[in-house]
């Protein structure tokens, strides 16, 4: 009798083992971003939708992956962001964190991810340090970075005569990185930086800073800020007659949602660099239509498109490895297989974690040129993939072996 019981128990154990082998590979994706504050429109719930859409389009279930998507609000606070990341990794079994705008939080989460050997695919944050001196074997930076923005917008402006600059800089990791990278582009191309002022994040009134920019007599007022701060500075610059006085604004990081919020009357003529625009290809438009249907008619930003594309590539790597447990291994696999998806086309993830793809220089349309809401950009130039991002030869990422 006892023997029979042992036999029964053993056979049931074997049974469990067999069932496990056939079980799908569990994957938990955590979308960590600003769900309610100044960066909520450019990422926020739209990024969660994009991650889910990627899982659906990948056909995860049919390929033996059981994917779950979680979301949380980091409220633009580094302590909140890191404690959510730790909770997700330690308690909830999350394998990968995606999106995470706000460079300060992104750098912190990248550190936690390395410590826990998970994966971090960043789309929303800008600082080029994520693949520079702070690079890790567990982080992939997908959509854009401050180097690419500076290289795109900064270079284009200096080449058309805008050779003296004054910066309004958001006073945290992102603004500092953007100012640093743009200053380098400006001076490398023969321009000069006359000064800068560090503005606290989430500042409503820029008039004082604009006045300082005005009295600097710089030809270009560079806006090294983002979201609501960029919107308010552009709006108030037009009020203070900055542009009428002969100075030009250079928005170094402008999202589609910012232009929507400014209105074309104020935003027209701005040059901007972006990784993706919804009305550029048929594949983009198809994605945008589905996005609009699910998100109250809004069009997706490059950040949201980047979340989609990044998650898709991540799932390919997990499928190849049949496991999501070893974060560094998954990222190594992501670097091994070339990237290819409907939104960002063909590309690669470089050794430093940088996703390489073309960047684009756009100009904001005049109200008369626009066919309606969300029809905002005209393509001015394509920056080919091999020029769009910081070359490895200039990299200070420890993963890059200097030859």
């Amino acid at each position: 009798m006892r023997l029979a019981a042992i036999f029964l128990a053993a056979s049931s154990l074997v049974g469990i083992g067999v069932a496990q082998a056939a079980d799908p590979v569990p994957v938990k994706i955590g979308v960590l971003n600003d769900q309610s504050g100044l960066y909520a429109d450019l990422g926020g719930p739209g990024s969660v939708w994009a991650a889910k859409k990627a899982v659906e389009d990948f056909g995860a279930a049919a390929k033996g992956l059981k994917v779950e998507v979680l979301a949380a609000d980091h409220q633009n606070k580094a302590d909140v962001g890191t404690s959510i990341a730790r909770q997700w990794y330690d308690v909830d079994g999350v394998d990968v964190i995606v999106d995470t705008p706000n460079s300060g939080i992104a750098l912190a989460v990248s550190g936690v991810t390395k410590e826990k050997n998970k994966v971090f695919i960043n789309s929303g944050a800008a600082t080029s340090d994520l693949t520079g001196k702070a690079c890790t074997p567990n982080t992939v930076h997908w959509t854009y970075d401050t180097w690419a923005l500076a290289n795109g917008t900064g270079k284009a402006i200096v080449k058309t005569g805008g050779d003296t600059w004054f910066f309004l800089t958001a006073d945290y990791a992102f603004g500092h990185a953007l100012e640093r990278d743009t200053s380098k582009v400006v001076t490398d191309n023969g321009g000069k930086v006359l000064g800068s002022v560090k503005v606290p994040l989430n500042n409503a009134d820029f008039s004082s800073f604009l006045l300082q920019a005005q009295s600097s007599k710089a030809k270009i007022v560079g806006l090294a800020n983002a979201g609501g701060d960029t919107i308010n500075s552009i709006k108030q610059a037009s009020e203070y007659g900055i542009v009428d006085g002969g100075q030009k604004l250079a928005g170094l990081l402008i999202f589609l949602t910012d232009v929507h919020s400014l209105g074309l009357k104020t935003a027209q003529g701005l040059n901007l660099t972006a990784a993706w625009y919804w009305d550029q290809t048929d594949a983009n438009r198809t994605f945008a239509d589905a996005f609009a249907k699910a998100n109250g008619g809004k069009r997706p930003t490059m950040v949201q498109a980047g979340v989609y594309s990044g998650v898709l590539h991540y799932l390919k790597a997990v499928e190849a490895l049949k496991s999501a447990k070893d974060g560094a291994a998954v990222v190594a696999e992501m670097k091994k297989i070339p990237t290819d998806d409907p939104l960002f086309g063909k590309g690669e993830v470089r050794i430093d974690g940088r996703h390489i793809h073309p960047m684009y220089l756009y100009e904001v349309k005049k109200p008369s040129e626009s066919k309606g809401p969300w029809d905002y950009y005209t393509l001015k130039a394509t920056i080919p993939a091999n020029e769009a991002f910081r070359p490895l030869s200039e990299s200070d990422c420890p993963l890059v072996k200097k030859g």
């Binding site: 009134d205 979201g227 203070y240």
Partner: protein, 293 residues
Amino acid sequence: MFELLGIPPQALFGQLLLGLINGAFYAMLSLGLAVIFGLLNVINFTHGAQYMMGAFGAWMLLNYLGVPFWGALVLSPIIVAIIGMVIERTLLRRLYQLDHLYGLLLTFGLALIFEGLFRRQYGSSGLPYNNPLPGGTNLGFMFLPNYRAFVVVASLVVCFATWFVIERTKLGSYLRAATERPDLVQAFGIDVPRMITLTYGFGVGLAALAGVLAAPAYQVSPTMGSNLIIVVFAVVVIGGMGSIMGAILTGFGLGVIEGLTKVFYPEASSTVIFVIMAIVLMVKPAGLFGTAK
């Protein structure tokens, strides 16, 4: 030419003027708070949301009904004030007998609800609102946009009219009396509950008016109020809770101090007001113009 602390005098005058403009918003908001606190003893945390609703009211009037800025300047505060009075009648009224904290919690909760509703409907990055008074005047030391000049003048008029009504008229004396001894005032045949409702409506209307004035200058967004309200509370604390003149003067004064900080040490411009608040609380806990009760 002489320079003061490395800043040319032209730039300094410019910054002083800008400080006054920002101070105008602080003054109007803290005035509303002071009126409500002084007469109702309610710490109105919904104030920021009501400021935001004023701005959104202007946007909605323009985009849904075609009402221009000048119409919205009158209509939007009235609409928001009516919403405020409904809140006072149905919710706030029940809490007067209780500790301040209950009113604070209720109004804070309401603020979160309003913000959430607007964010759900309009997103977080805000909406465009065109400047009704484009252009400006070159004052020699700075370029003063016409609209900003209008804001300062409008705010000064509103602030001092309010002060005058409360401190120098018969109506104001009823109001002040009702806060001290509501039972006695009621015995003289004055409808105290209605007066309180109207006072709350007036305070809320002031917030909404500031919101309408802010719409062309700042981004009309659901979070515009919560970013500002903390600063405004600090202004009220510095001026002294419930002091009308204190709220006005500290509003303008702190605007100027903040403006100067933006020149000398911009990194600290978002914290300077709180540093001052801490110092004032240590030296004079009732605030600069407040009286200890």
